[in-house]
């Protein structure tokens, strides 16, 4: 390396240094430290005290809310995620049709994704209001009596999933981009072979966009395991207990937050974070393993 090159290299490093330092100090180090904290009694104030695996055994065998919160989160993963993916794909297919004013529909479908999650959550608190909310007013117009939504343990999770569908513009956009990439000659060939719209969808569209479906499944999986903001904003309003009614929306990340930041149990929360990481990792690995069977890469 010449003198000039070395000088440029150092200058480059220095210009990158805010990111490098920031990454190691604010991301890498806390991640590593949380492994140690998860093995300690650590309240976030006093120095941590090593305990071994006690936090982990407490979580698995003593904390009834751990299992309840895991169950609630699994509901969003197992029911919420497929519903959301199918909804987004369905809308993307409609938005891919050649229609007059299609660009307006596309804009409208994406628009909610621009609204910050907290603002959207507050808007939906009002929409889902059982007495004066727009949704129950529409249902009443159709002669139906709407449920109590966020006040009902049976309806609170479905209500949150419905709200998620409204804000799925980002996923729709990714699907739409993939749909527009499907080569037209494949459809032509399918039509010549006598395939109707349903067979074209099944035999041409879905295989061709399967890498994007795979991407959305993985991202959706990670997002669903970390589901937090909406439920924090929407269920703690009015001083009600977090994750209500009757723990029906106490998702894993909310229980983790309550332990770490409200109950002075940062070590315990760190252990929860690592268990969540392992669960997410296992679920993602499973999706990756099965992907060879259903994801089609045209180049391979």
């Amino acid at each position: 390396m010449t003198r000039t090159e070395r000088s440029r290299f150092v200058a480059g490093l220095l210009f990158c240094s805010p990111w490098i330092v920031g990454f190691f100090v604010w991301t890498a180090w806390p991640i590593l430290a949380s492994i140690y904290y998860s093995l300690c009694r650590f309240d976030g104030i006093a120095p941590p005290r090593f305990l071994g695996l006690l936090n982990y055994t407490d979580l698995l065998f003593r904390d009834d809310l751990f299992w309840k919160s895991l169950w609630n989160t699994m509901y969003f993963v197992v029911i919420g995620l497929p519903v959301s993916l199918l909804w987004s794909l369905g809308l993307a297919l409609l938005l891919n049709l050649r229609l007059r004013g299609q660009s307006i529909y596309r804009t409208l479908a994406y628009l909610p994704a621009l609204i910050p999650v907290v603002a959207a959550s507050v808007i939906w608190l009002w929409l889902l209001n059982p007495e004066i909310g727009l949704i129950n007013a529409l249902l009443a117009g159709a002669g139906l009596r709407g449920p109590a939504w966020l006040l009902s343990p049976a309806w609170a999770k479905p209500a949150l999933i419905i709200m998620g569908l409204w804000g799925a513009g980002g996923t729709i956009l990714i699907y739409l981009a993939a749909l527009q990439d499907v080569p037209l000659h494949l459809y032509e060939a399918a039509r010549i072979d006598g395939a109707g719209p349903a067979r074209q969808l099944w035999h041409v569209t879905l295989p061709m966009i399967s890498p994007v479906v795979f991407f959305n499944v993985v991202m959706g999986l990670i997002g669903s395991f970390q589901y937090f903001t909406q439920v924090y904003v929407m269920t703690s309003a009015g001083g009600r207990p977090l994750g209500g009614p009757q723990d029906s929306t106490l998702v894993y990340a909310l229980h983790l937050f309550a332990n770490g930041f409200l109950n002075f149990r940062m070590g315990y929360a760190s252990a929860m974070a690592w268990i969540l990481f392992l669960i997410t990792l296992a679920a993602t690995a499973l999706v990756f393993r099965t992907s060879a069977r259903w994801v089609y890469y045209a180049g391979k």
């Binding site: 000088s7 440029r8 150092v10 200058a11 220095l14 210009f15 240094s17 009694r41 309240d43 976030g44 104030i45 006093a46 005290r49 209001n129 059982p130 007495e131 004066i132 109590a148 006040l151 009902s152 343990p153 009015g238 009600r240 207990p241 977090l242 209500g244 009614p245 009757q246 723990d247 309550a258 930041f261 409200l262 109950n263 002075f264």
Partner: protein, 425 residues
Amino acid sequence: MRTGAPVSLLLVALAGCARPAPPGKTVVDYWTGWGAHELELQRELVREFNASHPEIQVEIFCVAGAYQKVRLAFAAEDPPDVCSAVWMSELASYAERGVLSPLGPRFQAQGWRPGDLLPGLYDALSYEGRLYALSTTVNTYFLVYNRDVFAEVGRDPGWCPRTLEELEAVSRECTVVGDDGRLQRYGYRPASLMHWAVAFGGSWYDPAARKVTADHPANVAALRWLVRYVREYGVERLESFEQSFGNWQSADGSFFSGRVAMYLTGEWFGRFAARYGPGIDWGYCPLPSPPAGRGNVLLWDGSVFVIPSASRHRDEAWEFLSWICAPAQSARFCLGIGNLSPWSDVLRRDDFRNDPLFAFAADLALGANAQGPPPMPLWNLYRSEIARAEDFAIHGKGDPEQLLQRVAAKVQRELDRFFAEKEAA
């Protein structure tokens, strides 16, 4: 030189973080949780202190809505010198972890006695017998009712419920249900098991025995009463209706919009009513309690002033703290924002007694049966478990006694372990 630019940028950025103390002065960092007009009044007091104390410069920093910062500052051992952004309910947790300076000896050296404060308040500001905080405001709670609604249902507008039976009866009379079965107005909904358990004669914690008493028979009785009361109206119907209430600090609030006939509030209500419900004719009286329970229950809470043990200027911090919380400054601040002062003598002053509502609230505060949050280090966990038990009980998901027994067992187990580990360490 090419590397010169980023290096000098970094140096300039770092230089911006340093703040030189004015020569001959000690800077006292003061974090406050008050915002808006209350913050302005705090700033005015700080300016006055700085002008009258040439050797100290207090720098005020607002952390309203960001109390989490305080805990991070404690964790980083870099807290401010004085902080009024700590809840009274957090005192035990912080004191137990050794991050607060005890203030008892300084309090006495100032010539103050525990009895100078409102009954029960010195204990509420202490943990295991040591004083850790001072306050400059306190709040009371009482029942406000809409006289027009009382007249409408045939009650004397000057009358007020004195027993739980009367409260339930008048609440029923004031309730209006529409043709569609939905509530249009209700009388009064008792909330907060925390309060009612104490009013029924119960308790949440025995500090001497370090015993969690969530399943105290009076607590169970209070929860049974709450459940019966709420279920009479239909929990879902009641909660759906409550979801339609606007912000309580607005004309759309439940009481000001006429959707609730009785309302639990405090001494600040007069100012709110003048602003948001000027046409409403209202009266006030103490919240009733059962004959075997405690009357005039007040649960102190709210933010308090502390000096962190990591403060580098504890003497100067106390100089400021003892000035801003002193009776004269406390009276000014309280009259400015419409709160009560924690000093008994201040509440006997004419400027606090000229307003009949303030005089009534002051008498409540000077009465018996006021107490602080249970002095235990796991109060946040305990409080959330109580709220969960209440939520389950009023929705008919469990027997009140069993739910409270479960809370007691769970929190006791955690508390025992907390103290065992502390002793082992």
